[in-house]
Amino acid sequence: MELSRRQLLRNGLYGAAGLAVGGGAAACGTSSTSGSGGGVPASMTLWYWSGGLSDKVVADATKKFTQTKLKSSVIGGDFKQKLQTTMASGKYVPDITGIKGEDIASLLPNADKFIDLNTLGADKLASQFLDWKWKQGSTKDGKLIGFPIDIGPTALFYRPDLFQKAGLPTDPDKVAAALSTWDDYFQAGVEIKKALPKAFLVNNTGSVFGQAVGQAPERFIDAGGKFIGDQAHIRNAWELAVKTVALGIDAKINDNSWNAAIGNGTLATEIGAAWHALDIEQAAPELKGSWRVAAGPGGAANNGGSFLALPRQCADPQLAFEIVTWILNPANQARGFTDDALFPSMPAAYTLPALTAADPYFGGQSTIDVFGPAAKAIPVQYQAPADSAVSTPYFNELTNVETGKSPDTAWSDAVSQAKQVFQQQAG
């Protein structure tokens, strides 16, 4: 597109020049019209993040629902920020969007920006899903905003070969029994360090803290809206996290080098949810067969697990809901597990062959044996909308402890900052 100065001068254009440039460019880009008009829309968009849904299942959905052209976008970067900015602008809002588990709580207060899926018949399906997950996607007054995709039952991923070198048991059941408490787990970390000086037990303090908080009955804000981030259950999680630094079993990895660390044996264990298996597999495909899964220390917790939602601007809610329920039917949820380690939110899927099959990456282990019981033992926790924002200071201060700050000072700083954030968010 060339606009020579001569042309412009001749026509004496000023703003028209801008319009000329913009006119051509504006022809690109799609937007689904808001409100469901008469017929089925020509195209619909689905937003998710890498690994949020199985790409193959999404591709099949595109092939199956030929009434409309289903376009899927894998969004990189800060998904929640992108979604919110787009929804605020009212343009290019996706018809179906994923919502991450850690973000759903903060989006529920804006429930009017989404369609209540119960009005589309979701309530009839409620019994097929885990109760606490269904509640997590619903508002207090019973509107269903988020349709469950997967859940994140946590377990311990470990390297049996490194365990053997450290004189630890290698069989999953034995490992679960030996490392059932956090102290036992840390002790194992010390043993590993003695045998393999370059290996660490945990990747950073934040992961320990997050897991321990997830195992507690409450989080940072109680159901009545009061700040409880300074109480014993949080303090306990904090103490566990900083202990790893004191014991020298913390690898202090907070960036992309995690991928390399997984591959070269710097990390002997990982505590994570079922979907974390995908991260490990992608980081170290050459370590196929070298990892196993066992029940983790301190009991089960939920970490992550996402939802699909329909923004208010969805062009055809009925069709969109059909697509959503198809993508998330038991068979496809099982495929999600096989393809992207997405642990189904539908108990009906747990007995499907895809779930009970041996996983070659984990040396032929049937990981459902670990994740299944874990999923059932997940404690129900209330998550306030401000939970994510309030928890940030703790994670920041934990990285400070990793670089030498006194744990006690860091704790009081974290709590006071968290209180400030709480007041700011609540105000």
Binding site: G15, Q84, M87, A88, K252, N256, S391, F395, N396, G427
Partner: protein
């Protein structure tokens, strides 16, 4: 009717170096009809008004409100600023920004000056050096940040590998608060040294050769000549680069955002471990677009602007001591 010019007149030696206003054109008062001039400057000012001035005024208003971008805008007076003053993260961001700016700007300008002096003294390869040194400033900051992130990575970065082979031990570049700032500062330095060097070089070419010849006759060496002749005569240009570097350096955003941005849900845009890379503008972005706290974000942005103004002014005073 086309008038052409030969090259002769253009070669005007650098008189009036640094004079702020050009020779006035009194004789061009043709009646009182200046509409062409107003028409000429109006496009800029119209766009500036619509897309800069009005938004800035609105953001000033926002700094006194509480708004999440979707709901209603509530006026809350000075509450955002009071929160700001007591917000340790804000002060941390301020300290980070200043540290990074000092680390990134001061050595950079000195090196640029030295490089320009060297460039001025060579005869061969001049064009090649100029182009090669200028290229960093036209590269995409995103790509460069990615590159620096890879090279300074704790575990597989090139720098640590070299250090290891030299038996100097590794440095946790991306985890230690000071090395994080250093990496960001190095990024800024790498990108802008050549650019400033070329600007200085251009200024040096305006200095008459006779001054140098006179100095040599008086027995001054190259270094002495540099400090006694070149630097003082470059003062207006140095001032210009200092102001520009101050303004851009204190607004650093892309470097820490790309270096430490990730799809990590817990702490996006936090500036890395210990928030050591959290600059003022990154903090603004985080509050406004991650926490949806537009009111507080606006307050941070205005505080950042005041800081920039203050330092630009201070630099101006320091450097323009003598009458220009």
């Amino acid at each position: 009717m086309t008038l052409t010019r030969t090259g002769a007149v253009r070669r005007a030696p650098g008189r009036d170096a640094g004079a702020p206003v050009r020779r006035p054109r009194g004789r061009l008062r043709r009646g009182a009809s200046f509409w062409p001039q107003y028409a000429a400057v109006s496009p800029f000012y119209l766009i500036f008004l619509g897309f800069m001035l009005i938004p800035v005024a609105f953001s000033l208003y926002l700094a006194f409100t509480s708004w999440d971008g979707v709901g209603a805008i509530r006026f809350v007076g000075l509450r955002q600023f009071r929160f700001l003053i007591h917000d340790p993260t804000f002060w941390l961001a301020l300290r980070n920004t200043l540290a990074i700016w000092v680390l990134g700007t001061v050595p950079m300008l000195c090196m640029a000056l030295v490089l320009a002096g060297l460039l001025n003294s060579v005869r061969r390869f001049k064009a090649f050096y100029r182009v090669a040194l200028f290229i960093p400033s036209v590269t995409s900051l995103v790509a460069v940040a990615l590159f620096f992130g890879a090279v300074f990575s704790n575990s597989f970065g090139l720098v640590n590998v070299i250090l290891q082979h030299l038996h100097l031990g590794t440095v946790a570049w991306m985890s230690d608060p000071w090395t994080i700032k250093l990496v960001i500062a190095l990024l800024m330095t790498w990108q802008w040294t050549g650019y400033n060097a070329i600007i200085y070089l251009a200024g040096m070419q305006a200095i008459p050769k006779e001054l140098y010849e006179a100095a040599t006759i008086d027995g001054a060496g190259a270094v002495r000549a540099f400090f006694s002749i070149t630097v003082p005569l470059l003062r207006p240009i140095i001032l210009f680069t200092v102001i520009v570097s101050t303004v851009t350096g204190l607004q650093s955003f892309t470097e820490p955002q790309v270096l430490f941005g990730s799809s990590a849900s817990v702490n996006p845009n936090s500036g890395g471990p210990g928030q050591a890379g959290l600059t003022l503008i990154l903090y603004f972005y985080h509050q406004a677009f991650d926490n949806n706290d537009f009111g507080y974000g606006a307050a941070i942005a205005w505080a950042a602007f005041l800081v920039v103004m203050l330092f630009a002014l201070v630099n101006w005073r320091l450097m323009a001591r003598r009458e220009r």
